[in-house]
């Protein structure tokens, strides 16, 4: 990755993307938009290193996500996105590095307290148990309840609100294992919402979904971010990232190769270097959002 950048194609981009190799410049104002949570800081990760079986999966990642923003984590297969997300959620302890959210170290928080701050939606999470949709969503209340106590009024309200928020009221009594992929994704999203996190991390929430369900998922995430929750989602589809997200973090080979606002970061040059394909960035005729068209390298 060279430090050179092409001219941003989308007008109105406020900020140049950060590129690895360039010196760490503090980003002016902390974010490209006014933070939606006043006074709060977003997610800040510094020097994350993760090894597994002697292989370096994440190699010194620094990244940040502005509070109340919807940010996409993108990169090719095997780039270390899932591993990084688990470390950012403080579910796995990295071999080195720090993760702070809202100015406090996530690793330093007691487990249950941490689970009230950050929720993780795993890729293709599944269960063999024929749990009802309502009881899957209720699992999100685990960090808010002691082992012994039943569902209190706050929890019941939080579960109902989460079910309402993603529009799965009609599925409440259904067996989770019998749902379609899109329905399952909505239920898992509701479970995470019921957890009432300030930071929501999702690992490829649009995987295996049809286009309608993909757009619906991103719309939900947009609403969650608009309500003040900081959202970071690993995505494979660059067009979904371009159309719905405020910013992107691009990883390849366990390193952050670029990050910043979507319009200025997802350049044809970056896509060529990271994915090895040619790309043309167009403008969507009705939404005005960037649309990326791909072709094989050199064709």
């Amino acid at each position: 990755m060279s430090g050179a950048q092409e001219t941003p194609r989308v007008s109105g981009a406020q900020e140049a993307p950060r590129v690895s190799g360039a010196q760490e410049t503090p980003r002016v104002g902390g974010a490209q938009e006014t933070p939606r949570v006043s006074g709060a800081q977003g997610l800040e990760a510094r020097g994350i290193v993760i090894r597994a079986d002697g292989k370096l999966l994440v190699d010194g990642v620094d990244c940040s996500v502005a509070p109340g923003s919807l940010t996409a984590l993108i990169g090719p297969n095997g780039a270390g996105k899932s591993t990084l997300l688990r470390a950012l959620a403080a579910v796995d302890k990295p071999d080195a590095g720090e993760v702070d959210f809202a100015g406090a170290s996530l690793a330093a928080l007691p487990r249950r307290e941490r689970a009230r701050v950050v929720a993780l939606v795993e890729q293709d999470a599944s269960t063999e148990l024929p749990l009802t949709v309502a009881s899957v969503v209720a699992l999100g209340r685990t960090p808010h309840l002691s082992v012994w106590e039943g569902m209190d009024a706050t929890s019941i309200a939080a579960v109902d609100a989460a079910i309402e928020a993603v529009g799965i009221g009609d599925l409440k009594a259904r067996d989770f294992t019998t749902l379609s992929g899109g329905e399952r994704q909505r239920v898992l999203l509701a479970k995470a919402i019921a957890q009432r996190p300030a930071l929501l991390l999702l690992d490829e929430p649009t995987n295996h979904l049809d286009i309608g369900a993909q757009l619906a998922t991103l719309a939900h995430l947009g609403r969650i971010a608009a309500s003040g929750t900081t959202v970071l989602a690993a995505l494979h589809d660059l067009n979904l990232a371009a159309a719905w997200c405020d910013s992107v973090i691009v990883v390849a080979h366990g390193r952050v190769v670029a990050s910043g606002p979507v319009g200025t970061t997802l350049t044809p040059q970056l896509i060529r270097e990271v994915y090895g394909v040619d790309a043309t960035v167009l403008e969507h005729p009705t939404t005005g959002k960037p649309v990326i068209a791909f072709s094989e390298l050199g064709s």
Partner: protein, 334 residues
């Protein structure tokens, strides 16, 4: 949860009735009210209407045996439900980590080799030894994971089984054969008050706290990462519960031998009643296990009167078809 509450109340009443009814059944005719009168008198509230001999049958023979059956049934069903949740394996049972074969080896050694240790103690030590070897083997294979632990348990079971068979083959003579077989199949024929004390203490000290961990087990429904993301200490919870159920199972095996199918089947049956949520599943499995083993043992000691079957034969005869039925249901769902 309200439905589970009703089931709990109904099953609690059914358990008390089952215990007192089962005591009336046997070669000597003893009426239901006589059983209660005997219980009341032994609690120091009045005098028994029964003769010394008949009161002895109630209080020294049948009552401790029925109570042991209830405790063992509860402990095995509870351990089975917990093991199935911890390993995410619907075929898991309390004996998964080599406990029953270790206990059998301990017991057989005492019966056949004349080692002068109390039988329950030998069985318990055998179970713990098997568990320790299982865990050592699992850790020697690399990082201890549920799958490795289960596979190591399988290996230890086979080995302990082979040694047990060898000891039997080499030394067995005459009557000890029957005693050994009834141990290997599981039997409550020797259960008196000391057995009640062992099994009852295990239920109160280990079983009841384990029953209250339903919410923790629920959080494992979507796997370890998901549980961790919900704020659960995954490895701490897993090892604490594994250790607790191993001790519970070891205590049960030490008084009854390895009674099969109770820990495997009953949690599945209870799931049909109240669903898979562990907050209801754990206590209800214990109740259903208790009721089931009380009646299975009553059948075992009376059906071919005066001869007695090892209760393990009865549980297997009932358990195998029920298991087939559950499997058929499962594949119909899938």
């Amino acid at each position: 949860m309200r439905r589970a509450g009703w089931w709990g109340a109904a099953l609690g009443v059914a358990l008390v009735l089952s215990i007192t009814l089962a005591v009336t059944i046997g070669p000597a005719e003893i009426r239901f009210d006589e059983v209660w009168a005997s219980i009341v008198s032994h609690l120091g509230l009045g005098t028994t209407p029964l003769s010394v001999l008949r009161d002895g049958i109630v209080w020294e023979l049948r009552m401790p045996r029925v109570l042991t059956a209830a405790c063992v049934g509860a402990g095995l069903a509870l351990s089975g439900a917990v093991m199935q949740a911890l390993t995410r394996n619907p075929l898991a049972d309390p004996y998964l980590l080599g406990l029953s074969s270790g206990a059998s080896l301990g017991a057989v050694s005492v019966i056949l080799l004349g080692i002068s240790v109390l039988l329950p103690l030998a069985a318990f030590l055998g179970a713990l030894l098997a568990l320790a070897v299982t865990l050592l083997l699992a850790s020697a294979l690399g990082r201890i994971t549920p799958t490795r632990t289960v596979l190591a348990g399988l290996a230890v079971s086979s080995l302990a089984g082979a040694v047990t068979s060898f000891v039997i083959f080499w030394t067995v003579t005459g009557d000890s054969y029957r005693e050994i077989l009834s141990w290997l199949l599981g039997s409550l024929s020797g259960a008196r008050w000391p057995a009640v004390l062992i099994a009852g203490t295990a239920i109160i000290v280990i079983g009841i706290p384990v029953m209250a961990t339903g919410r923790l087990l629920d959080s494992f429904a979507f796997g370890d990462t998901s549980a961790a993301a919900l704020g659960v200490n995954v490895s701490g919870t897993r090892w604490a519960l594994l250790g607790a159920t191993a001790l519970l199972t070891g205590a049960m095996v030490s008084v009854s031998g390895s009674i099969g199918f109770v820990g495997l089947i009953l949690p599945h049956a209870v799931r049909l009643l109240v669903g898979p949520g562990h907050r209801a599943l754990l206590p209800l499995s214990a109740l259903v296990g208790a009721i089931f083993l009380v009646w299975a043992d009553t059948i075992a000691r009376t059906i071919f009167d005066p001869r007695e079957l090892p209760v393990g034969i009865v549980t297997a005869l009932i358990g195998a078809p029920v298991f087939a039925f559950l499997l058929a249901r499962r594949s119909a769902d899938a």
